[in-house]
């Protein structure tokens, strides 16, 4: 029984993290139809920003609330700045080009931004574990579990619900959906599509930076975290169905649970279980769990 509870707790915690990492990516794909590899670098910069902010708070003896404030401010600042920069310098100039070329351009941006973080913060590891330690642990099935990790599940849930509500219940959300479905008709109807595309890209970047910032207290922040996380995020997005936020949530849950099971019961499969899940899902649902049917082009 305690193993089952441990599996569920670990699986849910990992799933929440996967969802946070991939939700910005799937939002950007859903509207702009591009796979943004630089999302990994935004995640890393968010983590660096948060570690830097938390470091200052701890150095000056500020409260835990201030440390959480620093995490949020770092995420928004990094996401806004890097998102706008990427949109203006990389995405917008290439908007009429093939999606593979845009993917490659964002890979170039990933390389630049990853080394930029190293240039600013050095090649060593940064630690920002103070807020996680301050929240303490909770007993789950006889296992001391960090409250911070459980709180992340709630944060992921709130972000998912907020996105769903904005996209389906507000005028702005409907405009975003309209641009995602048919950009040309939206422009013909008087929608400022370019502004919506830019705003969506920036929001996606803020979500990526927030994922990094919230992960910073759990890990050693180092330059390699960006490239390693982007492949996982891709796997979640593809399994869920590209551009589908609900699909990403379900895919994150499925992969998180499988990862927890493999860590506890089959450690040898730990390295590739995520890709095995992706392969199995795509074998039965070739376009992901919740992808819309596609007509064959004549």
């Amino acid at each position: 029984m305690s193993l089952l509870i441990t599996l569920l707790a670990d699986g849910l915690s990992y799933a929440a993290w996967l969802f946070l990492v991939s939700v910005g990516l799937t939002l950007v794909f859903g509207v702009l139809k591009i796979l943004n590899v630089a999302h990994g670098a935004v995640y890393a910069l968010g983590a660096y920003g948060a570690a830097f902010g938390v470091g200052i708070c701890v150095e000056r003896g500020w409260s835990v609330a201030a440390q959480f404030g620093a995490i949020a401010v770092a995420a928004v600042l990094v996401g806004l700045t890097v998102g706008l920069l990427l949109d203006r310098c990389v995405i917008a100039p290439l908007h009429k080009q093939n999606e593979m070329l845009i993917l490659l351009a964002t890979y170039g941006a990933l390389l630049v931004l990853s080394d930029f973080a190293k240039l600013v913060w050095g090649g060593g590891s940064l630690y920002a574990n103070a807020p996680r330690d301050a929240l303490g642990t909770i007993d789950i099935g006889g296992l001391a579990y960090p409250v911070y990790d459980i709180a992340l599940v709630a944060v992921a849930g709130v972000i998912g619900l907020a996105l769903w509500a904005v996209l389906t219940r507000t005028r702005t959300g409907r405009l975003v959906s309209a641009v995602a479905v048919d950009r040309e008709i939206s422009i013909a109807m008087g929608v400022n599509a370019q502004r919506i595309l830019t705003a969506t890209f920036v929001v996606g970047s803020i979500l990526g930076a927030l994922a990094g910032a919230l992960t910073a207290p759990k890990i050693a922040v180092m330059p390699s975290i960006g490239p390693s996380v982007i492949v996982l995020a891709f796997a979640v997005v593809v399994v869920g169905g590209l551009g589908n936020i609900g699909g990403a949530a379900l895919a994150a849950g499925l992969i998180g649970l499988c990862k927890a099971i493999s860590i506890h019961l089959l450690p040898a499969a730990d390295l590739f279980v995520i890709y095995a899940v992706m392969g199995i899902v795509l074998a039965f649902k070739p376009y992901g769990l919740f992808a819309a049917p596609q007509a064959r082009r004549v």
Binding site: G108, F272, L282, R297
Partner: protein, 336 residues
């Protein structure tokens, strides 16, 4: 201007003579870097073939790793001849790509890319955890012999460079001939609209599986070459960044010409060497900036620049044929 067979033979002879001269005259590190670029170019040709059919493969590293491990394991079985090992490398790529190609033949677009990525990452996980394949440390490869001749290390490196150069020329020529063949035209047509190709009675599935096998053979060959040159193979060969490097080479060069992957691989290797010596800790920044600049300024690939430069030095302009003339020519041929 159409090249005659004599001109083509002369061009090949000149290329081989230049390669031999370069192999003996250049410093070892430059020769090694150029050889690395040529090997990447051979593997990149497989990505180019698939891209011409509209398929972006993020799993070319799997076939590359299959070729490299095939050679390493054959060495353990006392198989040492370089030519036999090359066949082993290519066959390892072919066998792997046949299974993978048949399993994912119905996938297109980003799903094809992600599935190839998933399969290569699963292979990476399996190899990393397999003591028989060296785990994360990898396997050492026995130095190969050339038709029973055992060469010392320096001579072996020169010989491997020459062999790589010859194979690069042969592979590039075969891919060019393939592009000009009927099957090559079918591949281009599949990219434009595969349903139309099916209506013509051609099996798209069979064509794409064949392409995957060709891509596997090229990557397996490249993997075998790298194993026999560096004398070490490890799981990183199947890691996703290896596959992305091959894609990068092809997209930077463009897919119009089989020489383009070699040109872009040489350019990338040059940039990497320059960046690593000038800014050893920040070479990715320089690489990324160069990539971005190239994509933003020359989105069709650097081959367009090279082709433009060679046209400037040509005395004769290429024959310009309008669409109307093409139709008339076609009708005349039909009537005949």
């Amino acid at each position: 201007m159409k090249k005659t067979n004599q001109q083509t033979a002369l061009l090949f002879a000149a290329l081989l003579a230049g390669t031999a001269l370069f192999a003996y005259a250049s410093p070892a590190w430059i020769r090694f870097a150029v050889q690395g670029a040529l090997i990447n170019g051979i593997a990149g040709l497989g990505v180019l073939l698939l891209l011409r059919a509209g398929l972006l493969s993020l799993g070319q590293g799997l076939y590359y790793a299959a070729g490299a491990f095939g050679v390493a394991l054959a060495g353990k079985l006392q198989v040492n001849d370089v030519f036999f090992l090359l066949i082993v490398g290519a066959m390892s790529g072919i066998v792997t790509s046949t299974f993978v190609g048949m399993a994912i033949a119905r996938y297109r677009g980003i799903f094809f890319g992600m599935l190839t990525l998933a399969i290569t990452m699963m292979a990476y996980g399996v190899v990393s955890k397999s003591p028989g394949l060296g785990g994360t440390d990898g396997l050492n490869v026995r130095p190969p012999t050339f038709l029973a001749y055992k060469l010392d290390f320096d001579d072996l490196q020169v010989a491997m460079f020459m062999l790589t150069s010859v194979l690069a020329i042969v592979a590039g020529t075969l891919v060019t001939l393939f592009h000009r063949s009927t099957h090559g035209k079918v591949i281009d047509a599949i990219r434009e609209g595969e349903l139309r190709v099916e209506y013509l009675g051609i099996s798209v599935r069979a064509s794409l599986v064949t392409l995957q096998i060709a891509a596997g053979a090229l990557a397996g060959l490249a993997g075998g070459l790298v194993a026999m040159t560096t004398l070490h193979v490890d799981a990183e060969f199947a890691y996703w960044t290896t596959s992305v490097e091959f894609v990068l080479i092809v997209l930077l060069g463009g897919i119009a010409n089989a020489a383009a992957p070699f040109a872009s691989a040489l350019l990338l290797e040059g940039i990497r060497a320059a960046a690593a010596s000038a800014l050893p800790d920040y070479w990715q920044l320089v690489m990324g900036a160069m990539m971005l600049t190239t994509i933003l300024l020359v989105p069709n690939g650097i081959w367009i620049l090279l082709a433009g430069a060679t046209r400037m030095f040509r005395s004769e302009r290429p024959e310009q044929v309008s669409a109307a003339e093409l139709v008339v020519k076609h009708e005349n041929r039909e009537a005949a």
